[in-house]
Homo-oligomer: 257 residues x 2
């Protein structure tokens, strides 16, 4: 069955769904204001809210989580169209309660418009309200990525939580690193091989076996010296104390076993 | 000039210096107890503390930071031998005060014995007490890696601090992610493409531009839902609140500008 897709939204996730699917598959992109979406092909943009007469197999709602409900209450769909959202933390029921052919396609990825993303490696977590809807959602997902997996709404929320911790919090932590190095006129790229190895190690051996450094060795001399280097960075000092405490605690608990 | 190296120590860093240099270059490895170092070639191991009569150009002290002073006070070196330590946070002076031909070779990497490390890409931060000693230390470092750079003791301490934050704290954070996913019977490898993209983004665009997620969007509904998912994980709840607060704060400060 050939896929005929519409996307609702013009933001980061919508843009990447458009790019990963391409123009022959994406028939229309529905946005609030055409003139604000110059990064998308003008010919595909529409401000209409009535999709009932369009020959579409799947409609992807790719808007901010708290806007999904607005879309569902203001747009009109045909009962044969499958309507999906793309949010990690939103239940499938938000659609299903209003439209029976419903589903979710959640890309487990951080996305800004200008990012270049290897879509084939990007996990897509899917859910569908029926077997037949799910089989079309699988077809859609597989046309984008080789990593397609079924997750129910609760599992997806756990994965989204894990992604927020792993991505957002690591980014926040690396922002501190960037600031300290910049203030000392040192190049952050020096740390890239270490960080690649860190990921490789944690994902292959696990976090406990991967831990090195002064906190896990309980090397108080280095810890004190590093705390004093941070005396002019109160935020990072907090961060340092927070993690040093938890790594020491983790270590003493795992050696108790 | 041909390199004739001895290593003092049999731990993680010593082992990787041996592996990266190889047996023709490494003439001897000095350890406390030969029988405890079966991971190193028996023929190279020695328990002697007198290196004065050996034809060595460089001696690498690769022991725990607080053991360096013990090595320096119990081992005997010839005045022509260059003595290096490998520690990020220890000043070159710890050697220089006792032995004039001194230096540092600090590998900016996390190292456990069984790790496979791409030595050619591993930054080596070097320091030397004189121009002529430094040129031999450069020769040594370049025989291991293509990323060799001169850093004085203060700069090296800043880089070590940055490495502790970037590596150890990220590892701690990913340990929480691992536990939550495991408890829910979900595979952590699902997050690997996201984490690779996170590193790529932070190192190419910087931390501020890379930030996505509920905290930076101030999406309190998702934040509250995620906090409630963490009600049985008090440590991770702390972590979540700590970072959500700092990301929001960072965001409001950068939009003030």
């Amino acid at each position: 069955m050939s896929l005929r897709i519409a996307i609702i939204g013009g933001g980061n996730v919508a843009t990447h769904f458009f790019r990963s699917l391409g123009e022959p598959i994406v028939k229309k992109i529905f946005v609030r204001k055409r003139e604000e979406n110059g990064h998308l092909p003008l010919a595909l943009l529409s401000e209409s809210k009535d999709l009932r007469t369009l020959d579409l197999s799947i409609i992807i709602i790719a808007v901010l989580d708290d806007q999904i409900i607005n879309v569902l209450t203001t747009y009109h769909f045909h009962s044969d169209q499958i309507v999906l959202h793309t949010a990690g933390s939103v239940d499938i029921d938000i659609i299903y309660q209003r439209h029976s052919k419903s589903g979710v396609i959640y890309p487990l990825m951080t996305m800004s418009k200008k990012d270049i993303i290897d879509y084939k490696q990007m996990p897509l977590l899917i859910e569908g309200s029926s077997e037949s809807d799910l089989s079309l959602i699988i077809q859609l997902a597989k046309s984008i990525s080789t990593r397609v997996a079924y997750f129910d709404s609760h599992e997806r929320k756990i994965v989204h939580l894990a992604a927020v911790i792993a991505n957002n919090f690591t980014t926040s932590l690396l922002l501190d690193v960037e600031r300290i190095l910049k203030k000392n006129h040192l190049d952050k790229h020096l740390l890239l091989p270490l960080m690649k190895q860190t990921l490789h190690k944690v994902f292959s051996s696990g976090g406990i076996k991967s831990m090195t450094g002064p906190a896990v060795r309980n090397d108080q001399k280095v810890i004190d010296a590093q705390l004093s280097l941070l005396s002019h960075y109160p935020e990072t000092l907090d961060l340092y104390q927070f993690f040093t405490h938890r790594i020491k605690k983790d270590q003493s608990e795992s050696s108790d076993i």
